[in-house]
């Protein structure tokens, strides 16, 4: 019986100690950057908590409005200030504001300390009054002002860069198009340096010299030999007289050139060479060695003779 009484008393004492412990919960006073603000002003509201190193803290999210009339602008942010032995000082701040004047009581907040999953302690941040005042209006000197327009901020370099880049790009594209059109009109390469073409007689003479160097007829390639010579002469006539010879037959070329008063012994020789060439190309004609040897000199003589005529014409006109 005695033992029973002793146990009951011990249990009651322990309960009493725990109740006392609970009621002895640590209470911190909350901080304000200002405790009186004008309507619309923002104020930091929070507290500084000393937290053991092995503990994590938990705070309930603030309601918005915090209390009727006080709006939450920014939730709590936590900032570790310094470490002392095994404790940290943690600064926690929320930003609030109010758009109505008056006195508001911001409620107390509870911070829970957890060690792992276990709740080991709680800290209470006490509630506090926030005074919100209006802007005083001097009714004696009261004056109406118009609504101010939006501010025109100065344009920054960063804002200008994309537009300047686009402008430069458009200018470059326009220049390339202009250049391409001009080069095309002048029959020059699209890009790069302008191609300086040789005069027609130089091109023709150079080409005839190359044909001579290939020794085509000596290697039984008479057809290629005459084709290349006549093609060179056709190209020369094309450039020199402006007649499209590649789409014309020999007879048509001869007729057209005679209509342009091309004559002389060189021209007669060339006509003969053209005839031999047609026979070789289309009739499997085997030209004699003499005919083959004469073909290039005849072509060269014609080019030189017509070039000299051109110079004389230019001198007469000039």
């Amino acid at each position: 019986m005695i033992r029973y009484i002793r146990n009951t008393v011990l249990a009651a004492l322990l309960s009493l100690v725990s109740i006392i412990g609970a009621s002895g919960q640590e209470v911190l006073s909350s901080t304000f950057s200002r405790d009186t603000i004008l309507i619309g002003d923002q104020v930091e509201w929070g507290a500084r908590v000393n937290v053991p190193a092995d503990v994590t803290i938990w705070v309930d999210s603030l309601l918005n409005p915090v209390v009727p009339g006080v709006e939450l602008i920014k939730e709590y942010t936590f900032d570790t200030l310094k470490k002392r032995k095994n404790h940290y000082d943690i600064d926690m701040k929320a930003i609030v504001t109010s758009f109505d004047s008056g006195s508001y009581y911001l409620p107390r907040q509870v911070i829970y300390f957890y060690k792992g999953e276990e709740l080991v302690d709680t800290v209470v941040i006490e509630g506090r009054n926030l005074e919100v005042t209006t802007i005083p209006i001097d009714t004696a000197t009261y004056q109406m002002y118009d609504i101010k327009g939006p501010y025109t901020y100065p344009v920054t370099f960063k804002e200008v860069i994309p537009w300047a880049g686009l402008g430069i790009l458009l200018l470059v594209i326009a220049y390339i198009i202009y250049k391409a059109i001009r080069n095309r009109r002048e029959n020059r390469a699209l890009f790069g340096k302008p191609v300086v073409s040789d005069p027609p007689h130089i091109t023709a003479l150079r080409s005839l010299e190359e044909i001579r160097g290939k020794k085509l007829w000596q290697n039984n390639k008479e057809k290629e030999y005459y084709t290349e010579i006549t093609d060179t002469i056709r190209e020369y006539l094309d450039s020199r007289y402006g007649i499209s010879t590649f789409e014309k037959t020999t007879a048509e070329i001869v007729k057209e050139l005679e209509g342009m008063d091309v004559s002389g012994s060189e021209w007669e020789e060339l006509k003969e060479m053209f005839n031999v060439s047609d026979l070789v190309k289309f009739a499997k004609y085997k030209a004699s060695e003499g005919e083959n040897e004469r073909a290039i000199p005849v072509a060269v003589r014609f080019v030189n003779a017509t070039y000299v005529t051109k110079l004389e014409e230019e001198e007469n006109h000039g």
Binding site: F246, E247, T249, F282, A283
Partner: protein, 330 residues
């Protein structure tokens, strides 16, 4: 082809083609002017191709072929195509003989060396088909029997470019069977004066037969031997290809004007006609001029024009000229 002896061939052609001048001379006794028509009749005759003639009435189309038939000493028949003509009227039919109590074959007017199918577009398609089939096959079947048509066999069909009401235009597939389409134009003033004089002076001279059908057959064999270089073949192919894909030859502007271009038959005809032309010019080889000389006649009926071309009054001749002036000559 490489083994051809051109010198020998040239000499042979000089010899074989000697009749051309005689024939032309004989025809010119009767036909005043129309050199182009006479030349193309010879090309058709030598290249074994039929000819479609287009021209106004009274331009000596019938007279020309009649004269040619007289010169060759060959049989000539004229068939006037009318809307009520039947295939049997052209090809022939089987007639029941009460005397022999048997069916007898009655050959139609197509059994002749030279046929003038006058105003071919006045008959319905079935008659046109019968004629064109005979032209192609060179044989006719009547009842159970098949008869070869005589050689040489040359059909000249005429079309009148005016009075298109009540006509049956030849379908493109059938027009393609004519090797040449020759447009006959009016004679020159001087020529027409001569025509009046000849008519008023008691008629034309009678042409003398200077050739036998066998001579024509032999000449045709020689024409086939006329040498055509690979460059010329390529030139022909380029021209025909340019009618199909003009944009590949720098003629993009023709693309929307051509509905369809020449068929491979056009290439064959162009080559054969060029050979015949070279033969007439007494040459044993073909040069680009020969191809160009026959180009219009071979291609003008083988190029289809779009509505856009017709609306702009562009003719196939315009198209051919553009092509000839754009394709490189070898």
């Amino acid at each position: 082809m490489d083994t051809v002896n051109i010198k020998e061939l040239n000499e042979r052609i000089q010899l074989e083609s000697s009749f051309v001048d005689l024939l032309t001379m004989e025809m010119n006794k009767v036909i005043v002017g129309q050199k182009h028509l006479v030349e193309n009749l010879l090309i058709g005759l030598l290249a074994n191709g039929h000819i479609l003639l287009e021209g106004m009435p009274g331009l000596a189309k019938t007279l020309a072929i009649n004269t040619l038939a007289s010169c060759v000493n060959a049989k000539f028949n004229r068939i006037q195509f009318t809307p009520d003509l039947l295939p049997a009227d052209v090809l022939g039919t089987m007639i029941y003989s009460q005397k022999t109590e048997q069916f007898q074959i009655k050959k139609g007017p197509i059994f002749a060396n030279f046929i003038l199918a006058d105003e071919i577009n006045r008959s319905p398609a079935k008659v046109q088909s019968a004629l064109l089939e005979a032209m192609q096959e060179r044989q006719v079947t009547i009842g159970d029997e098949t008869f070869k048509l005589p050689e040489p066999f040359l059909v000249l069909a005429t079309q009148n470019p005016i009075e298109q009401e009540g006509t049956y235009p030849l379908p493109e597939a059938q027009v393609d069977r004519f090797m040449l389409k020759v447009v006959v134009t009016y004679p020159k003033k001087e020529e027409e004066k001569l025509i009046i004089r000849m008519n008023n002076g008691g008629g034309y001279q009678k042409p003398q037969p200077i050739l036998k059908p066998e001579d024509i057959a032999r000449a045709r064999e020689v024409v086939k031997e006329v040498y055509m270089d690979e460059k010329i073949e390529r030139y022909i192919v380029d021209i025909v290809y340019a009618t199909r894909t003009p944009e590949e030859y720098g003629l993009g502007k023709l693309k929307d004007l051509i509905a369809y271009g020449g068929s491979p038959r056009a290439s064959i005809s162009l080559a054969m006609a060029a050979k015949a032309y070279a033969f007439i010019k007494r040459r044993g080889y073909v040069i680009p001029e020969d191809v160009r000389a026959v180009c219009y006649e071979v291609l003008r009926h083988r190029i289809g024009l779009t509505y856009e071309a017709e609306a702009e009054n562009i003719t196939t001749e315009n198209i051919i000229s553009e092509i000839i002036n754009a394709v490189d000559v070898p």
